[in-house]
Protein backbone atom coordinates (compact mmCIF):
# COMPACT_ATOMS: atom_id res chain seq x y z
CA UNK A 1 0.00 0.00 0.00
CA UNK A 2 1.21 3.45 -0.84
CA UNK A 3 1.77 5.72 2.09
CA UNK A 4 -0.16 8.93 1.96
CA UNK A 5 1.94 12.04 2.14
CA UNK A 6 0.96 14.17 5.08
CA UNK A 7 1.86 17.75 5.69
CA UNK A 8 3.08 18.35 9.20
CA UNK A 9 2.78 21.88 10.47
CA UNK A 10 4.41 22.99 13.68
CA UNK A 11 2.87 25.40 16.09
CA UNK A 12 6.10 27.40 16.05
CA UNK A 13 5.62 28.23 12.36
CA UNK A 14 2.48 30.20 13.07
CA UNK A 15 2.57 33.96 12.75
CA UNK A 16 0.03 35.18 15.24
CA UNK A 17 -2.08 37.95 13.80
CA UNK A 18 -1.47 37.07 10.14
CA UNK A 19 -5.10 36.06 9.63
CA UNK A 20 -6.27 39.34 11.11
CA UNK A 21 -3.93 41.30 8.90
CA UNK A 22 -5.35 39.65 5.82
CA UNK A 23 -8.88 40.04 7.12
CA UNK A 24 -8.37 43.81 7.31
CA UNK A 25 -7.80 44.02 3.57
CA UNK A 26 -10.84 45.12 1.57
CA UNK A 27 -12.44 42.04 0.07
CA UNK A 28 -10.89 39.56 2.50
CA UNK A 29 -13.14 40.20 5.49
CA UNK A 30 -14.97 36.87 5.48
CA UNK A 31 -11.84 34.78 5.84
CA UNK A 32 -12.65 33.57 9.36
CA UNK A 33 -15.93 31.97 8.39
CA UNK A 34 -14.37 29.24 6.19
CA UNK A 35 -15.75 25.82 7.10
CA UNK A 36 -13.12 23.90 5.11
CA UNK A 37 -15.79 22.32 2.91
CA UNK A 38 -13.47 22.11 -0.09
CA UNK A 39 -15.90 23.46 -2.65
CA UNK A 40 -13.27 25.93 -3.82
CA UNK A 41 -10.76 23.16 -4.47
CA UNK A 42 -13.40 21.12 -6.25
CA UNK A 43 -14.33 23.82 -8.76
CA UNK A 44 -10.84 25.25 -9.25
CA UNK A 45 -9.68 24.39 -12.80
CA UNK A 46 -6.05 24.63 -11.75
CA UNK A 47 -6.13 22.81 -8.43
CA UNK A 48 -4.64 19.66 -9.94
CA UNK A 49 -1.47 21.62 -10.69
CA UNK A 50 -1.25 23.31 -7.33
CA UNK A 51 0.98 22.20 -4.50
CA UNK A 52 -1.75 23.06 -1.98
CA UNK A 53 -5.41 23.27 -2.87
CA UNK A 54 -7.26 26.56 -2.42
CA UNK A 55 -8.98 25.11 0.65
CA UNK A 56 -5.59 24.33 2.20
CA UNK A 57 -4.34 27.83 1.48
CA UNK A 58 -7.38 29.37 3.15
CA UNK A 59 -6.83 27.04 6.09
CA UNK A 60 -3.17 28.06 6.31
CA UNK A 61 -4.00 31.73 6.29
CA UNK A 62 -6.74 31.21 8.86
CA UNK A 63 -4.33 29.56 11.25
CA UNK A 64 -1.41 31.89 10.58
CA UNK A 65 0.93 29.67 8.56
CA UNK A 66 2.15 32.68 6.69
CA UNK A 67 5.44 31.40 5.37
CA UNK A 68 3.97 28.25 3.83
CA UNK A 69 1.15 30.16 2.20
CA UNK A 70 3.43 32.82 0.71
CA UNK A 71 5.92 30.27 -0.57
CA UNK A 72 3.27 28.09 -2.19
CA UNK A 73 2.99 27.76 -5.95
CA UNK A 74 -0.77 27.81 -5.57
CA UNK A 75 -1.05 31.57 -5.26
CA UNK A 76 0.79 32.00 -8.56
CA UNK A 77 -1.20 29.32 -10.32
CA UNK A 78 -4.48 31.03 -9.53
CA UNK A 79 -5.66 32.39 -12.88
CA UNK A 80 -8.31 34.65 -11.31
CA UNK A 81 -11.25 32.81 -12.84
CA UNK A 82 -13.43 33.47 -9.79
CA UNK A 83 -15.09 30.03 -9.93
CA UNK A 84 -14.30 29.44 -6.28
CA UNK A 85 -15.48 32.84 -5.13
CA UNK A 86 -18.94 32.50 -6.63
CA UNK A 87 -19.41 28.95 -5.29
CA UNK A 88 -18.09 29.36 -1.75
CA UNK A 89 -21.00 28.77 0.65
CA UNK A 90 -19.54 31.33 3.06
CA UNK A 91 -19.10 33.96 0.34
CA UNK A 92 -15.37 34.15 0.90
CA UNK A 93 -13.64 35.99 -1.91
CA UNK A 94 -10.89 33.46 -2.35
CA UNK A 95 -9.58 35.11 -5.51
CA UNK A 96 -9.04 38.38 -3.69
CA UNK A 97 -7.26 36.57 -0.88
CA UNK A 98 -4.99 34.98 -3.50
CA UNK A 99 -4.26 38.47 -4.86
CA UNK A 100 -3.41 39.70 -1.41
CA UNK A 101 -1.06 36.76 -0.83
CA UNK A 102 0.66 37.44 -4.14
CA UNK A 103 1.18 41.03 -3.10
CA UNK A 104 2.65 39.96 0.23
CA UNK A 105 4.96 37.48 -1.44
CA UNK A 106 6.23 40.16 -3.83
CA UNK A 107 6.68 42.68 -1.03
CA UNK A 108 8.63 40.18 1.04
CA UNK A 109 10.44 38.73 -1.96
CA UNK A 110 9.75 35.14 -1.05
CA UNK A 111 8.41 33.76 -4.29
CA UNK A 112 10.06 30.80 -6.02
CA UNK A 113 13.21 31.95 -7.79
CA UNK A 114 13.05 32.47 -11.57
CA UNK A 115 9.32 31.87 -11.37
CA UNK A 116 8.00 33.96 -14.25
CA UNK A 117 4.66 35.06 -12.85
CA UNK A 118 5.79 37.50 -10.17
CA UNK A 119 8.16 38.94 -12.74
CA UNK A 120 5.34 39.38 -15.22
CA UNK A 121 3.26 41.10 -12.57
CA UNK A 122 6.07 43.46 -11.63
CA UNK A 123 7.09 44.29 -15.17
CA UNK A 124 3.47 44.84 -16.12
CA UNK A 125 3.21 47.19 -13.19
CA UNK A 126 6.30 49.11 -14.26
CA UNK A 127 5.24 49.41 -17.86
CA UNK A 128 1.69 50.48 -17.04
CA UNK A 129 3.13 53.07 -14.70
CA UNK A 130 5.80 54.58 -16.91
CA UNK A 131 3.95 54.46 -20.21
CA UNK A 132 0.34 54.33 -19.09
CA UNK A 133 -0.25 51.50 -21.54
CA UNK A 134 1.03 48.02 -22.03
CA UNK A 135 2.56 46.76 -25.25
CA UNK A 136 2.08 43.04 -24.81
CA UNK A 137 4.87 41.71 -26.97
CA UNK A 138 7.51 43.99 -25.47
CA UNK A 139 6.27 43.01 -22.04
CA UNK A 140 6.56 39.33 -22.91
CA UNK A 141 10.09 39.85 -24.17
CA UNK A 142 11.22 41.64 -20.99
CA UNK A 143 9.59 39.00 -18.87
CA UNK A 144 11.29 36.12 -20.62
CA UNK A 145 14.66 37.87 -20.53
CA UNK A 146 14.37 38.34 -16.81
CA UNK A 147 13.17 34.90 -15.85
CA UNK A 148 13.35 31.91 -18.11
CA UNK A 149 15.14 33.50 -21.02
CA UNK A 150 15.86 30.16 -22.66
CA UNK A 151 12.16 29.60 -23.28
CA UNK A 152 12.14 32.83 -25.29
CA UNK A 153 13.86 30.87 -28.04
CA UNK A 154 10.88 28.58 -28.20
CA UNK A 155 8.60 31.60 -28.68
CA UNK A 156 10.16 32.99 -31.84
CA UNK A 157 7.67 31.21 -34.05
CA UNK A 158 4.74 32.72 -32.24
CA UNK A 159 6.30 36.17 -32.52
CA UNK A 160 6.90 35.71 -36.21
CA UNK A 161 3.35 34.51 -36.77
CA UNK A 162 1.96 37.53 -34.93
CA UNK A 163 4.17 39.84 -36.94
CA UNK A 164 2.99 38.38 -40.22
CA UNK A 165 -0.60 38.96 -39.16
CA UNK A 166 0.03 42.54 -38.15
CA UNK A 167 -0.52 41.79 -34.48
CA UNK A 168 2.98 42.60 -33.26
CA UNK A 169 3.32 46.36 -32.78
CA UNK A 170 6.90 47.52 -33.12
CA UNK A 171 6.52 50.76 -31.22
CA UNK A 172 5.85 51.15 -27.53
CA UNK A 173 2.30 52.31 -26.77
CA UNK A 174 2.14 55.27 -24.48
CA UNK A 175 -0.32 57.85 -23.17
CA UNK A 176 0.07 61.58 -23.75
CA UNK A 177 -0.60 63.01 -20.32
CA UNK A 178 1.87 60.93 -18.34
CA UNK A 179 2.35 63.74 -15.84
CA UNK A 180 -1.33 63.48 -14.89
CA UNK A 181 -0.99 59.78 -14.12
CA UNK A 182 2.30 60.32 -12.32
CA UNK A 183 0.86 62.97 -10.08
CA UNK A 184 -1.99 60.59 -9.23
CA UNK A 185 0.36 57.76 -8.36
CA UNK A 186 2.70 59.95 -6.31
CA UNK A 187 -0.20 61.16 -4.23
CA UNK A 188 -1.33 57.61 -3.82
CA UNK A 189 2.09 56.62 -2.53
CA UNK A 190 1.72 59.10 0.29
CA UNK A 191 -1.78 57.90 1.09
CA UNK A 192 -0.92 54.22 1.10
CA UNK A 193 2.19 54.66 3.18
CA UNK A 194 0.04 56.30 5.84
CA UNK A 195 -2.43 53.45 5.53
CA UNK A 196 0.31 50.87 5.77
CA UNK A 197 1.53 52.44 9.00
CA UNK A 198 -1.94 52.25 10.43
CA UNK A 199 -2.95 48.81 9.27
CA UNK A 200 0.15 46.77 8.77
CA UNK A 201 2.61 48.48 11.10
CA UNK A 202 2.16 45.73 13.63
CA UNK A 203 2.98 42.93 11.19
CA UNK A 204 6.12 40.93 11.76
CA UNK A 205 9.11 41.14 9.44
CA UNK A 206 9.35 38.37 6.86
CA UNK A 207 11.04 35.22 7.89
CA UNK A 208 13.55 33.48 5.73
CA UNK A 209 13.48 36.30 3.19
CA UNK A 210 15.78 35.91 0.22
CA UNK A 211 14.54 33.74 -2.60
Amino acid sequence: MKLKKRIIQYEAERVVGFADEIRNVPGCEELRSCIQCGTCSGVCPLSTYMDYSPRQIIGMVQSGFKDKALRSHTIWLCASCYSCAVECPRKIRITDIMYELKQRAIQERIYPRRFPIPILAQEFNKMAQTHGRVTENVLAAIMFLKSTWWTAFGMWRLGLGLMRRGRFPLHLESIKRKDELNRMLKTLDKVTIDMLHDERGKGEPARGGGR
Binding site: A79, V86, Q103, A140, L158, R165, G166
Partner: protein, 291 residues
Protein backbone atom coordinates in the same frame (compact mmCIF):
# COMPACT_ATOMS: atom_id res chain seq x y z
CA UNK B 1 -28.20 56.82 -33.25
CA UNK B 2 -26.75 56.12 -29.82
CA UNK B 3 -23.19 56.90 -28.79
CA UNK B 4 -21.22 55.12 -26.10
CA UNK B 5 -17.91 56.07 -24.55
CA UNK B 6 -15.40 53.46 -25.58
CA UNK B 7 -12.49 52.02 -23.63
CA UNK B 8 -10.61 49.71 -26.04
CA UNK B 9 -7.85 48.51 -23.71
CA UNK B 10 -4.30 47.58 -24.69
CA UNK B 11 -5.07 44.24 -26.36
CA UNK B 12 -7.47 45.71 -28.88
CA UNK B 13 -4.67 47.94 -30.11
CA UNK B 14 -2.17 45.07 -30.26
CA UNK B 15 -2.64 41.34 -30.59
CA UNK B 16 -6.43 41.61 -30.46
CA UNK B 17 -6.91 44.29 -33.08
CA UNK B 18 -9.23 42.11 -35.14
CA UNK B 19 -11.76 42.52 -32.31
CA UNK B 20 -11.77 46.29 -32.74
CA UNK B 21 -11.70 46.02 -36.52
CA UNK B 22 -14.90 43.98 -36.44
CA UNK B 23 -16.60 45.68 -33.48
CA UNK B 24 -16.62 49.18 -34.93
CA UNK B 25 -18.23 48.49 -38.33
CA UNK B 26 -20.71 46.02 -36.86
CA UNK B 27 -21.93 48.53 -34.29
CA UNK B 28 -22.03 51.26 -36.92
CA UNK B 29 -24.23 49.03 -39.04
CA UNK B 30 -26.56 48.82 -36.05
CA UNK B 31 -26.60 52.59 -35.62
CA UNK B 32 -24.31 52.75 -32.63
CA UNK B 33 -21.31 55.05 -32.54
CA UNK B 34 -18.36 54.82 -30.17
CA UNK B 35 -16.28 57.69 -28.90
CA UNK B 36 -12.88 56.52 -27.72
CA UNK B 37 -11.78 57.96 -24.38
CA UNK B 38 -9.17 60.61 -24.92
CA UNK B 39 -5.79 59.43 -23.65
CA UNK B 40 -7.08 56.38 -21.80
CA UNK B 41 -4.55 54.29 -19.90
CA UNK B 42 -4.10 50.56 -19.24
CA UNK B 43 -6.87 49.22 -16.98
CA UNK B 44 -4.37 47.31 -14.86
CA UNK B 45 -5.76 43.85 -15.67
CA UNK B 46 -5.18 40.97 -13.35
CA UNK B 47 -1.40 41.30 -13.29
CA UNK B 48 -1.64 44.69 -11.66
CA UNK B 49 -4.02 43.45 -8.99
CA UNK B 50 -1.30 41.04 -7.97
CA UNK B 51 1.15 43.82 -7.23
CA UNK B 52 -1.03 46.36 -5.53
CA UNK B 53 -4.79 46.28 -5.50
CA UNK B 54 -5.37 49.89 -4.44
CA UNK B 55 -2.98 51.08 -7.11
CA UNK B 56 -4.79 48.98 -9.67
CA UNK B 57 -8.07 50.62 -8.71
CA UNK B 58 -6.53 54.09 -8.91
CA UNK B 59 -5.17 53.44 -12.37
CA UNK B 60 -8.53 52.13 -13.52
CA UNK B 61 -10.37 55.06 -11.94
CA UNK B 62 -8.58 57.49 -14.25
CA UNK B 63 -10.42 55.85 -17.13
CA UNK B 64 -13.73 56.03 -15.30
CA UNK B 65 -13.05 59.72 -14.70
CA UNK B 66 -12.24 60.30 -18.38
CA UNK B 67 -15.48 58.56 -19.32
CA UNK B 68 -17.53 60.70 -16.97
CA UNK B 69 -16.10 63.78 -18.66
CA UNK B 70 -17.79 62.78 -21.91
CA UNK B 71 -21.49 63.35 -22.13
CA UNK B 72 -22.46 59.77 -22.96
CA UNK B 73 -24.47 57.68 -20.53
CA UNK B 74 -22.53 54.44 -20.60
CA UNK B 75 -19.01 53.14 -21.10
CA UNK B 76 -18.28 50.19 -23.36
CA UNK B 77 -15.39 47.84 -22.51
CA UNK B 78 -15.00 44.93 -24.97
CA UNK B 79 -12.18 43.05 -23.20
CA UNK B 80 -13.40 40.78 -20.40
CA UNK B 81 -10.47 41.70 -18.16
CA UNK B 82 -10.94 45.46 -18.63
CA UNK B 83 -14.67 45.03 -18.16
CA UNK B 84 -14.13 43.28 -14.84
CA UNK B 85 -11.43 45.64 -13.57
CA UNK B 86 -13.54 48.73 -14.29
CA UNK B 87 -16.58 47.15 -12.63
CA UNK B 88 -14.53 45.94 -9.70
CA UNK B 89 -13.11 49.42 -9.16
CA UNK B 90 -16.61 50.82 -8.96
CA UNK B 91 -17.58 48.11 -6.47
CA UNK B 92 -14.56 48.90 -4.31
CA UNK B 93 -15.35 52.59 -4.45
CA UNK B 94 -18.75 51.79 -3.00
CA UNK B 95 -17.69 49.16 -0.48
CA UNK B 96 -14.40 50.33 0.89
CA UNK B 97 -13.96 53.81 2.33
CA UNK B 98 -10.17 53.42 2.35
CA UNK B 99 -10.02 52.59 -1.36
CA UNK B 100 -12.50 55.35 -2.14
CA UNK B 101 -10.42 57.83 -0.16
CA UNK B 102 -7.21 56.88 -1.91
CA UNK B 103 -8.86 57.11 -5.33
CA UNK B 104 -10.37 60.52 -4.69
CA UNK B 105 -7.10 61.97 -3.38
CA UNK B 106 -5.16 60.62 -6.34
CA UNK B 107 -7.70 61.81 -8.89
CA UNK B 108 -7.70 65.25 -7.36
CA UNK B 109 -3.94 65.45 -7.76
CA UNK B 110 -4.46 64.63 -11.44
CA UNK B 111 -7.17 67.28 -11.76
CA UNK B 112 -9.92 64.71 -12.33
CA UNK B 113 -13.13 63.68 -10.61
CA UNK B 114 -15.06 60.43 -10.64
CA UNK B 115 -18.35 59.42 -9.06
CA UNK B 116 -17.99 55.79 -10.04
CA UNK B 117 -21.62 55.32 -10.94
CA UNK B 118 -21.59 55.29 -14.75
CA UNK B 119 -22.57 51.85 -16.05
CA UNK B 120 -19.67 49.94 -17.61
CA UNK B 121 -21.00 47.53 -20.21
CA UNK B 122 -19.76 44.71 -22.37
CA UNK B 123 -20.59 44.82 -26.09
CA UNK B 124 -22.27 41.40 -25.81
CA UNK B 125 -24.69 42.85 -23.27
CA UNK B 126 -25.32 45.99 -25.32
CA UNK B 127 -25.78 44.12 -28.60
CA UNK B 128 -28.28 41.60 -27.27
CA UNK B 129 -30.02 43.44 -24.44
CA UNK B 130 -30.08 47.01 -25.70
CA UNK B 131 -29.88 46.87 -29.49
CA UNK B 132 -31.90 43.67 -29.45
CA UNK B 133 -32.07 40.53 -31.52
CA UNK B 134 -34.81 41.84 -33.77
CA UNK B 135 -32.59 44.65 -35.03
CA UNK B 136 -29.83 42.11 -35.59
CA UNK B 137 -32.08 39.75 -37.53
CA UNK B 138 -33.18 42.65 -39.71
CA UNK B 139 -29.57 43.49 -40.54
CA UNK B 140 -28.52 39.93 -41.45
CA UNK B 141 -27.87 39.74 -45.20
CA UNK B 142 -26.26 36.34 -45.36
CA UNK B 143 -27.42 33.94 -42.62
CA UNK B 144 -24.67 31.66 -41.38
CA UNK B 145 -26.85 28.63 -41.88
CA UNK B 146 -25.10 25.36 -41.21
CA UNK B 147 -22.16 26.89 -39.37
CA UNK B 148 -21.72 25.02 -36.08
CA UNK B 149 -20.43 27.34 -33.39
CA UNK B 150 -19.25 26.67 -29.84
CA UNK B 151 -19.96 29.80 -27.77
CA UNK B 152 -17.09 30.47 -25.37
CA UNK B 153 -17.63 33.27 -22.85
CA UNK B 154 -14.57 33.00 -20.62
CA UNK B 155 -14.53 33.73 -16.90
CA UNK B 156 -14.46 37.38 -16.15
CA UNK B 157 -17.46 38.46 -18.19
CA UNK B 158 -19.78 36.60 -15.79
CA UNK B 159 -17.69 36.17 -12.64
CA UNK B 160 -17.54 37.34 -9.94
CA UNK B 161 -20.28 39.81 -10.88
CA UNK B 162 -23.21 38.32 -12.75
CA UNK B 163 -23.95 41.66 -14.37
CA UNK B 164 -26.21 40.47 -17.16
CA UNK B 165 -26.21 36.68 -17.30
CA UNK B 166 -25.77 33.43 -15.37
CA UNK B 167 -22.35 32.78 -13.81
CA UNK B 168 -21.87 29.28 -15.22
CA UNK B 169 -24.34 28.87 -18.01
CA UNK B 170 -24.75 32.21 -19.74
CA UNK B 171 -26.90 32.15 -22.88
CA UNK B 172 -26.69 35.70 -24.23
CA UNK B 173 -24.20 34.84 -26.96
CA UNK B 174 -26.04 31.61 -27.79
CA UNK B 175 -29.12 33.64 -28.63
CA UNK B 176 -27.09 36.12 -30.64
CA UNK B 177 -25.48 33.36 -32.70
CA UNK B 178 -28.85 31.78 -33.36
CA UNK B 179 -30.12 35.12 -34.61
CA UNK B 180 -27.24 35.08 -37.11
CA UNK B 181 -28.43 31.72 -38.37
CA UNK B 182 -25.67 29.62 -36.77
CA UNK B 183 -26.22 26.27 -35.15
CA UNK B 184 -25.09 26.56 -31.56
CA UNK B 185 -23.58 23.33 -30.23
CA UNK B 186 -24.14 22.49 -26.55
CA UNK B 187 -20.94 23.62 -24.89
CA UNK B 188 -20.65 22.94 -21.17
CA UNK B 189 -17.16 24.43 -20.91
CA UNK B 190 -18.38 27.84 -22.03
CA UNK B 191 -17.14 29.58 -18.88
CA UNK B 192 -14.23 27.34 -17.95
CA UNK B 193 -10.91 29.14 -17.56
CA UNK B 194 -8.77 29.38 -20.74
CA UNK B 195 -5.61 29.62 -18.65
CA UNK B 196 -5.46 33.40 -18.68
CA UNK B 197 -1.95 34.77 -18.59
CA UNK B 198 -0.61 31.41 -17.39
CA UNK B 199 -0.27 30.24 -20.99
CA UNK B 200 2.66 32.62 -21.35
CA UNK B 201 4.19 32.14 -17.93
CA UNK B 202 3.63 28.51 -16.97
CA UNK B 203 2.73 26.79 -20.25
CA UNK B 204 2.07 23.34 -18.83
CA UNK B 205 -1.01 24.12 -16.71
CA UNK B 206 -2.00 27.18 -18.74
CA UNK B 207 -2.08 25.51 -22.13
CA UNK B 208 -3.77 22.45 -20.71
CA UNK B 209 -6.74 24.64 -19.81
CA UNK B 210 -6.91 25.86 -23.42
CA UNK B 211 -6.45 22.33 -24.72
CA UNK B 212 -9.46 21.03 -22.81
CA UNK B 213 -11.70 23.73 -24.26
CA UNK B 214 -10.49 23.12 -27.82
CA UNK B 215 -10.88 19.38 -27.48
CA UNK B 216 -14.39 19.69 -26.14
CA UNK B 217 -15.35 22.00 -29.02
CA UNK B 218 -14.09 19.40 -31.51
CA UNK B 219 -15.87 16.61 -29.69
CA UNK B 220 -19.07 18.61 -30.04
CA UNK B 221 -18.31 18.86 -33.77
CA UNK B 222 -18.15 22.62 -33.84
CA UNK B 223 -16.67 24.33 -36.92
CA UNK B 224 -15.54 27.37 -35.01
CA UNK B 225 -15.34 28.78 -31.47
CA UNK B 226 -16.81 32.24 -30.85
CA UNK B 227 -15.20 34.45 -28.17
CA UNK B 228 -15.82 37.82 -26.58
CA UNK B 229 -12.39 38.44 -25.08
CA UNK B 230 -9.01 39.15 -26.70
CA UNK B 231 -7.06 37.02 -24.23
CA UNK B 232 -9.36 34.02 -24.70
CA UNK B 233 -9.03 34.39 -28.46
CA UNK B 234 -5.26 34.59 -28.20
CA UNK B 235 -4.98 31.55 -25.97
CA UNK B 236 -7.32 29.37 -28.00
CA UNK B 237 -5.84 30.35 -31.35
CA UNK B 238 -2.13 31.04 -31.00
CA UNK B 239 -0.62 28.04 -29.26
CA UNK B 240 -1.76 25.19 -31.48
CA UNK B 241 1.79 24.07 -32.30
CA UNK B 242 2.73 23.79 -28.66
CA UNK B 243 -0.53 22.13 -27.68
CA UNK B 244 -0.20 19.59 -30.51
CA UNK B 245 3.32 18.80 -29.33
CA UNK B 246 2.15 18.08 -25.80
CA UNK B 247 -1.26 16.46 -26.07
CA UNK B 248 -2.13 16.06 -29.74
CA UNK B 249 -3.60 18.28 -32.43
CA UNK B 250 -6.90 20.03 -31.71
CA UNK B 251 -7.10 22.41 -34.66
CA UNK B 252 -10.22 24.53 -34.70
CA UNK B 253 -10.49 28.25 -35.50
CA UNK B 254 -11.44 30.76 -32.80
CA UNK B 255 -12.98 34.07 -33.86
CA UNK B 256 -14.70 37.03 -32.22
CA UNK B 257 -18.48 37.11 -32.06
CA UNK B 258 -18.29 40.46 -33.84
CA UNK B 259 -16.48 38.82 -36.76
CA UNK B 260 -19.30 36.32 -37.14
CA UNK B 261 -21.79 39.18 -36.98
CA UNK B 262 -19.84 40.97 -39.69
CA UNK B 263 -19.93 37.87 -41.89
CA UNK B 264 -23.67 37.55 -41.41
CA UNK B 265 -24.02 41.24 -42.28
CA UNK B 266 -22.15 40.39 -45.49
CA UNK B 267 -19.15 42.55 -44.70
CA UNK B 268 -15.73 42.09 -46.22
CA UNK B 269 -13.75 39.26 -44.56
CA UNK B 270 -10.49 41.10 -44.77
CA UNK B 271 -11.87 44.25 -43.23
CA UNK B 272 -13.20 42.16 -40.35
CA UNK B 273 -9.63 41.07 -39.63
CA UNK B 274 -10.34 37.38 -40.20
CA UNK B 275 -6.92 36.87 -41.80
CA UNK B 276 -5.27 37.74 -38.50
CA UNK B 277 -6.13 34.41 -36.88
CA UNK B 278 -3.66 31.52 -36.87
CA UNK B 279 -6.21 28.86 -37.76
CA UNK B 280 -8.27 30.17 -40.68
CA UNK B 281 -11.99 29.65 -40.84
CA UNK B 282 -13.17 27.36 -43.60
CA UNK B 283 -15.10 29.12 -46.35
CA UNK B 284 -18.69 29.45 -45.29
CA UNK B 285 -21.10 26.78 -46.42
CA UNK B 286 -22.65 28.14 -49.58
CA UNK B 287 -25.67 30.18 -48.71
CA UNK B 288 -27.28 32.66 -50.99
CA UNK B 289 -27.32 36.24 -49.84
CA UNK B 290 -30.85 37.08 -48.83
CA UNK B 291 -32.58 39.47 -51.14
Amino acid sequence: MTTYSYFPGCSLKGSGRAYEESLLPVLRALDVELEELDDWNCCGATAYMAVDEVRACVIASRNLALAEKLSHKELLAPCNACYLVLNKTQHYMKESPSVQGAIQKALKAGGLTCKGTQPVRHPLDVIVNTIGLDAIRKRVRRPLTGLKVAPYYGCQIVRPYATFDDQYNPTTMDRLLEALGCTVVPFPLKTRCCGGSLTGTLPEPGLHCSYLILKEALRRQADVIATVCPLCQFNLDSYHDKIAGKWGAVRIPTVYMTQLMGLAFNMNERELGLYRGFIPMKPLPASKPAE
